[in-house]
Amino acid sequence: MSFEPTLFVVDDDEAMRRSLKWLLETLRLPLQTFDSAEAFLEGYDGAPGVLVLDVRMSGMSGLALQERLAGSAPHLPVILLTAHGDVPMAVQAMHAGAFDFVQKPYNGQALLERVQAALREARFRHERQGERAVLAGRLASLTPREREVLDLVASGEPNKQIAQRLGISLRTVEVHRHNLMEKLNAHTVGEVIRIFLSATGAAE
């Protein structure tokens, strides 16, 4: 899964929208602009990238959009553009999972740096999400019995115990273990446990 990030800009002020586009295009990435939160929700297809969002907008506020996306699109880092003195609102946004906020008026260079930092975060989230998907695919290839054995191995049960618990012979347990390690592409028990945890999301 390749990482091809897009920059999303949501601002209801057209002059701001165009100037942000002019500035962010210097990053040489695909860029989409939206004139309202509602328009963004309408047009966004879940692609990876960074969202630059104005807090003060008529209709749905930037804050509301950001809180909504924290649930539906956690992979998308959000940079909020706030007015000076809107510290409480910015703090609230950070609590709700915003990546960063920039107070207007800002230095253009500083905004570019923030966006690049957000892009790195986006890549990281994307990759973690990709790895999880691969491991989840491997996990899904196990037979039900292999999965049962895996669960018990991951919880630290020795083979003898597993055989007793599942009512099968020690030899059969060893066969299942061998097969599932091959399917998971793991060489040690430690590797099996790491893959299991990251694939089920329990490591986060």
């Binding site: 002019w22 007015a83 000076h84």
Partner: protein, 604 residues
């Protein structure tokens, strides 16, 4: 003797006398009352000659003689039944005082040459008695005829007093009653030690042979010039003929003239009375009565007090009761006055305290209103600045974006350094302009909230109480539905109050605009998860689509004179407290705005 002993029977005999004396039934009747001190017959015998004479002298009148005793005489005068009165000097001075009779003539007597000295008393003892002086009577028995007798008692009594005796206490007085002859007989018989006789009775009795001469003697006999009997006392004027107060002057004058010209031949035989002369002075009789303290000279003290008590005890009792009641009443009134005064001053004190409390309360309200007004001004200016800052920041940010975009591109293309520098300047100047706006805004908004834990219900109650008068003026009812208890939120009470007040004013304007029949604003508070919610709903017409969308924009207003900052400020204040102010659903129509604030000490 027998006739003298008969008791007074005035009414029985009056008719007989009248018949005897009346000559003409048609004549004007003139009634003469005469003191019948020794009985009716004796009185008629003594005075009928005089009356006959008057009848002859004044034929135009019908004279009637009425023999009366002391009591009857007094009563007849009081009733105005008598025209003239013939009585003894003592009785005369009493009647003169009591009924205003006045003498027109005085009797002339054969026993004296001077009618001013005609009556006295002889205190008689037996010839062989050891008594010599009046003082010797101390402790002895002294007999008199009657307390009302003049010559037969009163004159002697005065003489005994003058001799240094207190006769009422020191002498054993006895009264035997008329006729007076009995006194002489009792003394003669040795039944008593001494007796009082009117002057000349002793001589008369001796002359009539009723008493042996020399059997009795007169104590301390006085010699009076021109007086022919033995007496123990000074002498007093003889009987007066007096007219009553209402007797016509003409009649009195003619009677007097007739009396003065009466010849002694008309006098009855066997009496000492010889005729009438001009009236003498009865002042000595007054003096006598005054000394004896007899009516009308009864001294007031002791007897009066006793009499008063006896005669007027009901009145006295009434007076005492009245006095007692007055004392009680006065005390009670004073008590009441004291009580009322205390109550009044207590009430005054309470009133003053109440007024002070009211003044203090008003002062607090005034202060609160001033604070709110100040906060409103500050917030308005702050909001204005914030609005301006936002408006100006947008183009400044755009300028910065363009400048930076250009710089990046020019550096990539290796453009001329002076272009790059100029673009850097543009960026820097835009940033500088933004900093100025920011400083201005910070300056205008330097009053940062001082957050403390507050109860939203308090803020609502306070704001509603401030708003109530305004609502009442517009006839709008404000209903509150407050949650029973709310966890505290963190913030500045005055700002939250201002938000509620703004929302209430907004609601009021909406109701006014709608001109609806139902004019109501409902304020409710509730706990909503980890937040506390305040909702202000009105019964106005609601908002159109554009207004709903732009409601919180600064300078957006549906009102002609509104600035469009009220809701904008409110939203800023709420957001400044970490809360939200949004348009809520109004199920009953109208508009509902609600704001939520995070509970204090939550996850923040």
């Amino acid at each position: 003797m027998n006739t003298r002993a008969r008791p007074l029977r005035v009414p029985l005999l009056a008719g007989v006398v009248t018949l005897l004396l009346t000559t003409s039934a048609l004549a004007v009747e003139v009634r003469i009352g005469v003191l019948a001190y020794r009985g009716v017959e004796q009185a008629v015998e003594s005075w009928s000659g005089t009356v006959d004479y008057l009848q002859q002298a004044l034929p135009g009148y019908g004279f009637r003689l009425l023999p009366l005793d002391f009591t009857a005489l007094d009563a007849a005068l009081a009733a105005g039944e008598l025209d003239f009165v013939l009585t003894n000097p003592g009785n005369y001075v009493q009647l003169e005082t009591a009924h205003g009779i006045s003498r027109i003539a005085t009797v002339e007597s054969s026993v004296t040459d001077d009618p001013r000295y005609s009556i006295g008393s002889a205190i008689v003892v037996r010839r062989d008695a050891a008594l010599q002086q009046l003082g010797d009577l101390r402790g002895r028995t002294l007999l008199a005829v009657d307390r009302d007798a003049f010559g037969g008692y009163q004159v002697a009594l005065a003489a005994l007093q003058a001799a240094g005796l207190d006769p009422l206490r020191e002498v054993r007085l006895r009264f035997v009653g008329f006729p007076m002859d009995r006194v002489a007989q009792a003394v003669a018989a040795g039944e008593v030690d001494a007796g009082i006789l009117r002057a000349c009775l002793l001589e008369e009795m001796v002359a009539e042979g009723e008493l042996a001469p020399g059997r009795l003697r007169v104590l301390v006999p006085q010699g009076h010039y021109g007086f022919r009997c033995a007496v123990s006392t000074p002498l007093y004027p003889d009987w007066p003929f007096a007219k009553s107060r209402h007797t016509p002057r003409e009649l009195a004058k003619r009677v007097a003239q007739a009396l003065f010209s009466l010849e002694s031949g008309h006098a009855p035989s066997g009496t000492t009375y010889t005729g009438w002369t001009i009236p003498v002075d009865y002042q000595p009789v007054h003096e006598l009565f005054r000394r004896l303290e007899l009516p009308p000279y009864v001294p007031t003290p002791e007897a009066t007090l006793r009499d008063l008590v006896r005669n007027y005890w009901q009145w006295l009792l009434g007076l005492l009761l009245a006095a007692a009641w007055m004392v009680w009443h006065t005390a009670r009134v004073e008590q009441q006055v004291r009580l009322r005064t205390e109550q009044l001053s207590a009430a005054n004190e309470r009133l003053r305290q109440a007024m002070q409390e009211q003044a203090a309360a008003e002062e607090i309200i005034r202060q609160r209103e001033a604070d709110l007004a100040h906060a409103a001004r500050v917030n308005t200016v702050g909001e204005l600045a914030a609005g301006m800052a936002h408006e100006i920041n947008q183009p400044l940010a755009a300028i910065g974006n363009y400048a930076e975009g250009c710089l990046v591109r020019l550096r990539h293309q290796g453009a001329a350094p002076e272009l790059i520098d100029a673009l850097g300047e543009i960026d820097a100047q835009a940033a500088r302009a933004g900093a100025i706006v920011h400083r201005l805004r910070s300056f205008l908004r330097k009053e940062e909230p001082k957050p403390v834990p507050i109860d939203l219900n308090d803020a609502v109650v306070e704001a509603v109480s401030l708003f109530t008068p305004e609502a009442r003026r517009h006839k709008v009812v404000v209903r509150t539905g407050l949650a029973a208890s709310l966890p505290p939120v963190c913030g500045e009470l005055i700002q939250i109050e201002q938000v509620v007040l703004n929302l209430l004013r907004n609601a009021l304007e909406a109701v006014e605009e709608g001109r609806c029949a139902r004019r109501e604003i409902a304020v409710t508070t509730a706990l909503a998860g980890d937040r506390v919610r305040v909702t202000v709903a009105d019964s106005g017409p609601g908002l159109n689509e554009e207004a709903r969308r732009r409601l919180f924009e600064p300078f957006f207003t549906t009102k002609p004179q509104g600035m469009g900052l009220g809701l904008s400020i409110s939203r800023s204040l709420v957001e400044g407290h970490g809360g939200r102010l949004v348009l809520a659903d109004a199920p009953g129509g109208g508009t509902a705005l609600e704001f939520t604030l995070p509970i204090a000490g939550g996850d923040e």
